[in-house]
């Protein structure tokens, strides 16, 4: 074979292998690690399997935060002002977690409709609202 062709062939093989590896990785990793977002209303209306990780969110309802003083267990209710969702979490909550503030949780839904959070996110400054919630609220208006 002509050396220049050979050289191109090798490069082509390398590119092909690299792309195949990447496509395979991207598709498999995406299908496993894609968390859909649900509002409390959507959770009520949709059939969601208990096995999959989802994200849910809304505003933390006033007076709903209950802390167990001995075990770090916390329960609270998030609302999208139409429906509510009961959330339980074990661990330390982020600094900006507060009543009437936007929050996004990641975890699994239980049979009884409550939600076990593995992670609670309440980021950024006091005006920050997760975009999902900002969307929900603006839809209402």
């Amino acid at each position: 074979m002509n050396p220049l062709r050979k050289q191109r062939l090798y490069a082509l093989i390398a590119i092909l292998l690299g792309s195949i590896l990447a496509t395979f990785l991207v598709t498999s990793a995406l299908s496993e690690n894609m968390n859909l977002f649900y509002s409390p209303t959507e959770i009520k209306n949709a059939e969601i399997s208990e096995d999959i990780l989802i994200r849910a969110g809304g505003m933390v309802k006033e007076g709903s935060i209950n802390r167990d003083i001995n075990t770090l267990e916390v329960t609270f209710t998030v609302t999208d002002y139409q429906n509510e969702l009961e959330i339980s979490y074990i661990g330390i909550l982020p600094d900006l977690f507060a009543e009437n503030a936007g929050v996004v949780v990641r975890g699994r839904l239980n049979k009884d409709g409550s939600f076990d959070a593995l992670e609670v996110l309440a980021k950024h400054d006091e005006n920050y609202m997760p975009p999902e919630i900002a969307n929900l609220l603006s839809e209402e208006e």
């Binding site: 991207v26 894609m34 968390n35 900006l96």
Partner: protein, 635 residues
């Protein structure tokens, strides 16, 4: 008055950039020497204008001129003066000024430091850079003017700088990052100008290479500093979150690494010319894309400070213009000149090809994961998803392994084809022995063992061995050798250290959330953690609850302090973690919630080898910096 001076300087900068951006092109098109001008003077003038504008903004911050809307939003009378200074780039408008300033600084460096015998080539490079700066100035003035006033009644006090940004690392992290991003402007401008003039690959690659290296150096430092800042300031002990904005910095970093490696081949062998052009374009484009993602607020991120679709659209316009424009020139250019250099699979050329291939595919996959939520939202009519850290880790891991294996023997490859593999055989033999030793070592030290920790620790040693063994080729004169190879040794050994840090910290960190009453102790591994006291403290612009904790192990004990601060006037709470660190591990404790009188929750972590991540990054930055400076001196 002063803000108006800054505003005017910025307008003057805009106008000057406009003319400097088009006149040389006419001059060259019509072959009219009268339209040529001296880049040196114009670039100095542009730099002075943007510096003046920047200083006016700094001044407005320092004297608390709250009639300037941007100052009122991001500063406060109580803020210490050094944070007032840093607040200049605390939000969107000011960071743009800093960005334009950085572009000007790079351009000035390029014009003054590189000797070019081809006047029209550097003139066109200069004017292309001016076009980009024109677009940025236009963007700043029309959508994000930092000098806008609140008149007639200015507020008495400002709203304050976001408390988590009130930190030393924050004062340096954004400038470094912006310098990194904007440095990619120079290779971009050189590549486009090289296409216009049908420049020899070897020639233009030589002038682009130092700037790609220097940008990479700044990006590395900027990213590392950001990671360090997040680690101690956010109070979570995480050092990388795969946040969209982190990815937006990581992707250009990957491409800048690919670019300077590709430019080595282009400069020495005249190969990969087209590829280097494309990489220069896309490295710059991704750095713009990063800004677009951050500023438009279309992605959820801790960094998204300006949620304004209009700005996003404007940046998208700039991005489209320069990508389409440069790709248009690319498609018109005649690349048919045959390459004469041949190379085998065992050659350095092929090594660089693999390196580029892996880095670019990795960059594309990460970029894809970052913007996938947007794509998904568009095709499913508004369903929202997030792509979490596990996706990115699953992608990074295999590519990092392949890149690491390649890096371990890359330095033994010769141009054309590698004849002698004795060095390679040696590292093979040695790596087998390291392999065995490592298994024993890991098992003894960490008493647990898994595939991912083993393979990453092994890779780190493999890269370090592969790099350090090139010292054996130069037995005779060490100084001469160091002078020639210091940069590559620094950067590659730095990579090995970074990999080791990542490997150990992600596999052997310990994390507990505990409840302690004042005076109580908790036993974590062999360390006793005691909650000594709780105090109230008043800072310059915050009040804080301050817990004193003692760590005690067999040999020593040390006290750390962790705080919960509430900043006024915003009322925003932050956690300040208490960290006690040494070379091999960090003890990291952060104060949680107050459960009852004198009973608090705490998050306690042991982070082995975490410092190695940043130390490795500093070495990489140093290596690329040395290489960049050497290249500038050579040209």
């Amino acid at each position: 008055m002063i803000p108006e001076v800054g505003h005017l300087a910025l307008i003057a900068h805009l106008v000057l950039c406009f003319f400097a951006g088009i006149i040389p092109l006419f001059g060259i098109y019509f072959r009219n020497q009268a339209l040529y001008f001296s880049c040196k003077r114009i670039s100095l003038l542009l730099f002075s204008l943007v510096s003046l504008s920047f200083l006016c903004l700094v001044y407005s911050f320092l004297i608390d001129d709250f009639s300037v809307a941007y100052v009122a939003q991001n500063s406060n009378l109580n803020l210490p003066f050094y944070f007032k200074f840093a607040a200049t780039w605390g939000a969107h408008e000011g960071s743009l000024i800093l960005w334009i300033f950085a572009m000007n600084a790079w351009l000035l460096g390029f014009i003054y430091l590189t000797k070019s015998d081809d006047e029209s080539f550097s003139l066109v490079t200069f004017s292309i850079a001016c076009q980009v700066m024109f677009a940025f100035s236009l963007f700043t003035l029309f959508t994000s003017n930092p000098f806008e006033r609140i008149l007639p009644i200015p507020p008495i006090n400002g709203a304050d700088l976001n408390p988590s940004l009130q930190d030393i690392a924050f004062t340096v992290h954004p400038p470094l990052l912006y310098f990194g991003y904007s440095g990619l402007l120079i290779p971009f401008a050189i590549a486009v100008s090289a296409m216009i003039f049908q420049k020899e690959t070897k020639e233009w690659a030589a002038s682009a290479r130092p700037w790609a290296l220097l940008s990479c150096s700044f990006l590395t430092l900027g990213i590392a500093l950001g990671s360090w800042w997040a680690y101690y300031e956010l109070g979570w002990g995480g050092w990388w979150f795969w946040d969209p904005v982190e990815n937006a910095a990581f992707v250009p970093w990957l491409l800048s690494v690919a670019l300077f490696h590709s430019l080595i081949t282009s400069q020495t062998k005249g190969l990969f010319g087209k590829w280097s052009v494309l990489l220069s374009i896309f490295a710059f484009a991704t750095s713009l894309l990063g800004t677009f993602l951050v500023r438009s607020g279309i992605l959820t991120s801790v960094h998204a400070f300006a949620l304004d679709p209009e700005r996003g659209l404007f940046i998208l316009g700039i991005l489209a213009f320069f990508i389409i424009g440069s790709l248009g020139i690319y498609s018109l250019r005649d690349f048919s000149k045959p390459t004469t250099e041949k190379y085998e699979v065992t050659s350095k050329e092929f090594g660089f090809l693999l390196n580029n291939l892996l880095l670019v595919i990795l960059a594309v996959a990460i970029l894809f994961g970052t913007i996938f939520p947007l794509i998904y939202e568009a095709i499913t009519d508004g369903r929202q998803i997030s792509v979490g850290a596990p996706y990115f880790e699953a992608i990074l891991f295999p590519f990092a392994i392949l890149l690491g294996i390649l890096q371990g023997f890359a330095l033994y490859l010769s141009w054309g084809s590698t004849k002698s593999f004795t060095f390679l055989q040696r590292i093979l033999i040695e790596s087998v022995s390291i392999f065995t030793l490592l298994i024993i070592f890991i098992y003894v030290v960490f008493s647990s063992f898994n595939f991912s920790s083993f393979i990453t620790i092994f890779l780190s040693v493999w890269i370090a061995m592969g790099t350090l063994q090139i010292t054996q080729r130069f037995k005779s004169n060490y100084w001469e050798f160091l002078r020639r190879r210091a940069a590559v040794i620094f950067a590659h050994v730095g990579m090995a250290i970074l990999v080791l840090g990542v490997a150990v910290v992600s596999n052997y960190s310990i994390e507990r959330e505990i409840i302690l009453e004042k005076g109580d102790s908790y036993l974590l591994e062999d360390k006793q953690i005691t909650f000594n006291s709780m105090e109230d403290k008043l800072g310059p612009n915050y009040v804080s609850k301050l817990a004193k904790i003692t760590f005690m192990d067999q040999s020593s004990d040390h006290e750390v302090i962790t705080e919960k601060r509430t900043y006024f006037p915003s009322g925003q709470p932050t956690t300040e973690a208490g960290i006690s660190s040494n070379v091999v591990r960090d003890l990291y404790i952060s104060l949680g919630d107050n459960l009852q009188t004198d009973i608090w929750s705490f998050k306690v972590q042991i982070k082995p080898f975490i410092r190695w991540i940043w130390f490795g990054s500093i070495m990489i930055a140093l290596g690329t910096l040395i290489a960049g400076i050497k290249q500038i001196r050579r040209s």
